[in-house]
Symmetry: C2
Subunit: 295 residues, 2 copies
Amino acid sequence: VATQKNNFIAVDWGTSSFRAALLAPDGEILGELATQRGITTFNKGEFAPYLIATCADLAKGGVGFYLMSGMIGSRNGLLEVPYCPCPASATEIAGAVGWVVPNKIAIVPGLRNGFDDVMRGEESQVLGAAAVLGLTDALMVLPGTHSKWVSLENGAITGFDTFMTGEFYALLKEHSILAKSLTEPEIWNPEAFIQGIETAMLGESLLRTAFSLRVKSLFNQLEASAASSYLSGLVIGEELAAMQIEDGMELLVIGGQTLCERYNLALTHLGARARTLGNQAAWAGLLAIYQRLKL
Amino acid sequence: VATQKNNFIAVDWGTSSFRAALLAPDGEILGELATQRGITTFNKGEFAPYLIATCADLAKGGVGFYLMSGMIGSRNGLLEVPYCPCPASATEIAGAVGWVVPNKIAIVPGLRNGFDDVMRGEESQVLGAAAVLGLTDALMVLPGTHSKWVSLENGAITGFDTFMTGEFYALLKEHSILAKSLTEPEIWNPEAFIQGIETAMLGESLLRTAFSLRVKSLFNQLEASAASSYLSGLVIGEELAAMQIEDGMELLVIGGQTLCERYNLALTHLGARARTLGNQAAWAGLLAIYQRLKL
């Protein structure tokens, strides 16, 4: 019973999804659930009732605490929690949580890099990855709609950069003139992807390299089914070129399987040494923050 | 009557507009008209009837010849005219026109830069600008949905590069997360534009600088009404950074008034010496090609 009392529910609540886990004080995952109810699908007053109702089964044994991260702490979430400045370790982040219900429901702050960049949710994944892999110093990339490149030094997040890579990919694929060259069926083509990476690594602007897809298509140099792979290589390669990926560089990729595989392929092609880790790193991060809360 | 017989109708028929002019053999513009009927608004069989009907008034004195340029010569136009390779002067281009009706209706070929880039219509504007200003060597930029940077050497177009600048601007403004920061009313703000140019000139990727708009907006560092000016600076600046614009560089900007003013402002800010010229340069270009046709 004493153990159950110290279990808590960790929540990763972003723009487009809701994930929760029941964690034991030692980090053991006792149960998990996920829904598609991202924060954009709610009105203000609906967040807390949804949280309690959705986690009712997880909380059955009697759970006293909820710790959440992600866009739930933004202006459009349950409670706006001011960004915590870098450098920030789990201790600083724990000291800056926002309290929805004192000692019951807390939200992890996002981080700001000076006033030049922001993130919400990735900080928990980064701290979790550091805990899981025993890292105190690392360069990590969290690919996605808005990719984050995060520097960890002495266990603290010292800085990060955002790239709108996934969003540009979707915009170009769905709404631009390139859509004409991207006809169905779309088949994953690693050679076309690497060709996109290499075109991007020439260091020209994406404004220019993106048009190369159209030109290749006009001159029948690119199969329509491979065009999305080439485009994926162009945008990911643009990000890697900007981050000046070099031979021998070591880094960690955190994210879903498909994106991790693509980044790993590109990074390996460029001579970097990449490890990958899944999104469940968030639970270990929330645990690390929980352990530093003054409850 | 002899003079009238040698008059001809020049047409610039693009994706989104139709423009025609009655030209005397010496280049005098005897009449002009424009409509919004770009090539995407037609089925195949409708192009020629529309051309004749729309130009009926211009052709009243008895006109024997039509010379057209632009996307009308593309796969989706009246007749697909193969791209003419660079380097190409008015003579090469005249030798490669496509004949819709022999000795009556011709379409100027677009150009290709190796198999790496293509354009249709801009070649006529570039040759026209060269004729109007008496240039044989120049670097010209034609800003727009797809900006073209064109090198003219010894009166021939030797190469060019396309940037999807205007299209990226529209995509980001209308379909991306940045739309949230771009609320009405939109007010032209030269300071915000120059701030965007300077951010872009740092040489970081647009994938990254675009997110700076969101961050500035979150921290109230950018008025919503000025955000579109800042975004315009980011994309145009990205193009200028890729073209390595330097102090003292001389170039010619050809296009509509608003874009010419923005490019001129940015180029002047970077120390380049820019001249501007309107889109009517196309007529002088079509005249130069007409004069080299073997009729």
